[in-house]
Amino acid sequence: MYTQGLDQKTKTSDKPGPLEGPEQLAEFQARVDAEEKIEAKDWMPEAYRRTLVRQISQHAHSEIIGMQPEGNWLTRAPSLKRKAILLAKVQDEAGHGLYLYSAGETLGVSRDQMVADLLAGRAKYSSIFNYPTLTWADIGAIGWLVDGAAIMNQIPLCRCSYGPYARAMVRICKEESFHQRQGFEIMLELSKGTDAQKEMAQDAFNRWWWPSLMMFGPGDKDSKHSAQSMAWKIKRFSNDELRQKFVDVTVPQAQFLGLRVPDDDLHYNDETGHYDFGEIDWQEFLDVLAGNGPCNRQRMAQRTRAHEDGQWVRDAARAYAARQRAKAA
């Protein structure tokens, strides 16, 4: 559903490894500058590989954890049509997780290892999924805002220098754009509905607006990995540029829906042609990132439980496959 990992601190060193001479690095950079795609078998700096593993696996984990808040309303979706659409969306997310883990595997890390890193708390997922879905309107707000922000982040990734990731993103972006439309459509239906439905929509908007802005990561002045990721053409626009673009696109949509943006400082700036907006509560962002959001524990507990409950099934499949191989030999 979305990436946030580019800017996070990592314990691994980004210093070049011993085999990476300046000439080799320059040659690699020249290929990137010429907009050539780097493929799995090509030589790449170790730090480039590690950055991609971190980002792709985090993106994959976000898709998988992101199934939980939306899955929370599957059994209660208000019509059969909405139930089918939401289920198709959640299924797409599982599919995105699968492509992304596969893209990650091209960099020499197994899916099992990436999953183990998530469960051990060594890998992160997008913090947005640590917020709860309390009403049906939250399903609309997630599609409209969270997927909307994800698309802003992800469209440039379709041109990412690493070929397997860029190609996975092309397919993912097509599906995300459908997800965003279904979210907006839920909000539109609520905005035309009863007073109770309008209130539900406004309440969901109030709760998801600021966390959606946080999805773009820290402001440019605090962003750790941005410069290197830009040089490697993994990242194409800065966090603040993307955030501004999202605000500019979303505010008129909120107005169309008859929703009030929960920001008293928001106004259109005639000189810049952009919306100016209030200060983001970065302490909240850091708290959620540190594991203290409303649902961090719940999300990890559910993922861990599903993984552990499935152990006997995976063991059985392996035992059966081994026996079949032995029979065939």
């Binding site: 899955g71 089918a84 059966y320």
Partner: protein, 250 residues
């Protein structure tokens, strides 16, 4: 029995919807990502079937009822699904055994319905049969893997089989609605289906090194609206928004 066709179509729709609802409860809890995709896909097929069947039921009913009327505005006792569909999920092996037992029957039923003389029902059955044939292949493959996997997986699915077997009698008992459909619309012959089901199931169980339980007392009642205690909760959860905000459009 002028409403026999309507009642028959609603039974099929109810079983499809309740099956989907139990599958949906398992989303984000599957043992592997591939199983996550399969489970969601099967649930989507069942929702699709329920929608087609309920839409047709609304037309037969002729009082302007739409698909959501049947799903969201009837109380638990008005549902006529097979009892196996509503049983709580348990673990992955339970889900596979339930799916295998039911779909081994359902695929034969749909196959027969595809030949019935009601064109609309036959058309729905043709489409559903294609989907369910694929689901059944998946369930069979997993049943064999689990039955013939490890000691633990074997013991677990054998216990699942012992638990769910008692709901299979209901597939074949038939009542006046089934008899009407057979007579007036060249509907399914449940006796012939039962025979084929037993043969097919026995072959897969043998491959899975599992044993069909003997002398099981069969449970019945789904078609009379006599459900398990669990069912009221499934319906209450599913209908929550439609009940809390009557008349609202979503």
């Amino acid at each position: 029995m002028s409403d026999a066709l309507l009642r028959y179509v609603l039974r099929l729709g109810d079983t499809a919807l309740v099956t989907a609802q139990r599958m949906i409860e398992r989303v984000a809890g599957e043992p592997e990502l591939e199983e996550e995709l399969a489970n969601a896909n099967f649930a989507l097929d069942y929702i699709g079937q329920a929608r087609m069947l309920y839409t047709y039921a609304g037309e037969l009913d002729g009082n302007g009822a739409d698909e959501d009327h049947f799903a969201f505005r009837r109380d638990a006792q008005q549902f006529r699904n097979l009892l196996i569909a509503e049983q709580p999920n348990g673990h992955f092996g339970d889900a596979i055994v339930r799916q295998f037992l039911f779909e081994s029957f359902y695929v034969l039923l749909l196959n027969a319905l595809a030949q019935c003389s009601d064109a609309r029902l036959a058309e729905i059955a043709v489409r559903a049969e294609k989907e369910v044939r694929y689901h059944l292949r998946y369930a069979m493959q997993w049943l064999v893997r689990l039955g013939d996997g490890t000691e633990e997986s074997h013991a677990r699915v054998q216990a699942s089989l012992d638990e769910f077997w008692r709901y299979t009698g209901e597939f074949f008992t038939g009542d006046d609605v089934d008899a009407h459909l057979r007579r007036e619309y060249a509907g399914p012959d449940l006796t012939a289906i039962a025979e084929e089901w037993r043969k097919n199931v026995a072959a897969v169980l043998a491959e899975a090194t599992l044993t069909a339980p003997a002398d099981v007392h069969m449970v019945d009642g789904g078609r009379a609206g006599r459900h398990s205690e669990h069912f009221g909760f499934l319906v209450a959860e599913m209908q929550h928004l439609q009940r809390s905000y009557p008349g609202a459009s979503w």
